[in-house]
């Protein structure tokens, strides 16, 4: 079930209430059952089988790994565990695409229009990419002796299947999540309250802001050949904002849901479009994922190739981000997107030192002007890459790129395609998170809005709920990152 559905609005409080009155030693079982039930609601029974298999294999290999002291034996066990997980991921996500002669439109939804994957007769693979990666990190961390293997199968299973993060992450580190799952639960008023607010805020970002931007993006990207010039640029910028609000909205809902159970999941976003370089962007976007590829793909590769100097690092970056592209889906659009980011980062390895020297010479190092310029440049580089991510096909993406700078085009048609009211509401609602962020930053208080006086605070809550009711966009329910 999607987080923005009536079913979830009934499911979450129900589970929470039962959780309050359940005996502490059975609480993990309740959450596990709820999580499996949650996954089962997708009406794809093979998914549950896959999850159980992955959990089972990971648990067994983990224990063996922990008790084995022979280095070669350990290495072998690690590769068996990782291999099994990857096999599951690859065979479900990529083989169907290859089998049907690499026709991505059949199975992997490149378009990310807001339509429910459940109505489509394709192979649903929601969640697999996330918990497989988490399982691999669990095994790798045992191998590196960062954590001890988990002796309780239920706890490990829950750490993989926990419903707030099951479908779209964050990708948790077992070292962070397992201890929290094992702590005895005591009702915490502040956690519950902040969890609910975070959930509502995430919902707002998704159904009021992101889904509304999607209307404009879909108008253009759904029929690229009807547009040239400015509409293509605007649609791409809108998409950059859309995917941010969609994914960070989902993440807020996940974190908010988890907080109700006193679990703190990892932050996935940190104002990504304020990044001053592409490297900085990846420290702020989908943080749990980029840390994963950094720790388990980039760093080992970089170290293995350290004899090649800068080239070693550059190639390691390229490979890492190609993998990132493929992880998002088996289509050329994603591969190009990943490759672009790989090129951005690999080339910075070479020009970074020159760049620093030039800045020093020009005397602009550490100036505000430089920072603003770098932020704008980074945003544009990232947005350019999003073209390949969003377009329905590689051909469409190339069309967009070729016709980006071609005058004003049918910009009025695009902006007013859904009526003037929709455009006005879109711009107003887009301003809301920007305003909120600015207030949060300038007030320097970490406990906003709870430090406001009660009437003002409750006015904010009411405004949020009323806006959700009045301005939510009703166009299917899937989140973008569902597709991975």
């Amino acid at each position: 079930m999607a987080f923005n559905s009536l079913t979830y609005f009934l499911f979450l409080p129900l589970i929470w209430i039962v959780y309050q009155w359940a005996p502490d030693r059975l609480r993990w079982l309740l959450l596990l059952a709820a999580s499996l039930g949650f996954y089962a609601m997708l009406k794809a029974p093979y998914l549950l089988v896959v999850l159980c298999l992955a959990a089972g294999v990971t648990f067994t290999v983990g224990l063996r790994l922990g008790s084995c002291s022979d280095e070669t034996g350990r290495k072998r066990l690690l590769w068996v565990g990782v291999g099994a997980n990857l096999l599951v991921l690859v065979s479900l996500k990529y083989l169907p695409a290859l089998f049907f002669s690499f026709n991505p439109s059949l199975f992997i939804f490149n378009g990310f229009a807001n339509f429910s994957p459940i109505t489509f007769h394709a192979l649903i693979t929601i969640g697999i990419s996330y918990y497989v990666f988490q399982a691999i990190s669990y095994l790798a961390d045992i191998y590196l002796e960062i954590i001890e293997p988990e002796p309780h199968f239920g706890h490990l299973f829950l750490s993989l299947a926990f419903f707030p993060k099951l479908l779209q992450g964050p990708i948790e580190r077992s070292g962070d999540l397992l201890p929290q799952l094992k702590k005895p639960y005591v009702f915490d008023y502040d956690m519950a309250r902040s969890g609910m607010l975070l959930f509502a805020w995430g919902l707002f970002k998704k159904v009021v802001v992101a889904d509304r931007l999607a209307l404009f993006v879909n108008t253009v990207y759904g029929d690229v050949h009807a547009y040239t010039g400015l509409p293509l640029i605007l649609a791409t910028y809108f998409y950059a904002l859309q995917i941010y609000f969609d994914f960070s909205g989902y993440t807020d809902m996940a974190l908010g849901s988890a907080r109700l159970f006193n679990i703190n999941l990892t932050r996935n976003f940190n104002a990504p479009y304020l990044a001053t370089s592409v490297a900085d962007f990846w420290r702020r976007w989908h943080i749990s994922f980029s840390r994963w590829i950094l720790d388990y793909i980039f760093k080992p590769l970089q170290m293995s190739w350290r004899g090649w100097g800068l080239a070693g690092t550059a190639v390691a970056l390229l490979v890492t981000f190609l993998v990132s592209g493929i992880w998002h889906g088996a289509s050329w659009g994603f591969v190009v997107w990943g490759g672009l980011h790989g090129i951005y980062l690999a080339s910075s390895v070479y020009y970074k030192s020159w760049q620093k020297k030039i800045h020093k010479v020009l005397g602009i190092e550490k100036t505000r002007l430089l920072k603003v310029w770098q932020t704008i440049l980074t945003f544009n580089l990232v947005s350019f890459a999003w073209i390949f991510f969003r377009a329905n096909s590689l051909a469409d993406a190339l069309y967009v790129v070729r016709h980006l700078v071609e005058g004003i085009g049918r910009v009025r048609a695009m902006l007013f395609a859904h009526g003037t009211t929709e455009l006005i509401v879109a711009l107003l609602m887009l301003a809301v998170p920007l305003l909120v962020k600015t207030l949060a930053v300038t007030s320097k208080r970490l406990d906003m809005p709870f430090c406001l006086p009660i009437p003002l605070r409750w006015a904010v809550y009411c405004l949020l709920v009323i806006s959700l009711s009045l301005f939510s966009v009703d166009s299917g329910r899937a989140f973008l990152y569902f597709q991975f």
Binding site: L294, Q302, M303, R306, G309, T313
Partner: protein, 76 residues
């Protein structure tokens, strides 16, 4: 102590900063400019100066300067 002094020299060279004074509890956050790029340079410099080779596992589990020192000591 001699080991720490030698390592300190390498740090100063790699980070181009003569004022660095390493201590076992120091991490990457404590040294200005210690990122993934300079980390590789640091490792390469250490390996060539001490004529040792770290394995993959060791490289991925260094948490601070102290770990580095212990590992080097065990190899020379």
């Amino acid at each position: 102590m001699e080991l720490q002094a030698r390592l300190n020299e390498i740090f100063c060279e790699v980070f181009d900063d003569d004022d660095i004074n390493i201590a076992p509890e120091m991490t990457a956050n404590d040294v200005d400019g210690w990122d993934s790029l300079s980390h590789v340079n640091l490792i390469v410099a250490i390996e060539s100066k001490f004529n040792i080779r770290f394995n993959q596992k060791e490289l991925l589990t260094f948490k601070n300067v102290g770990d580095l020192l212990n590992c080097i000591a065990s190899k020379i």
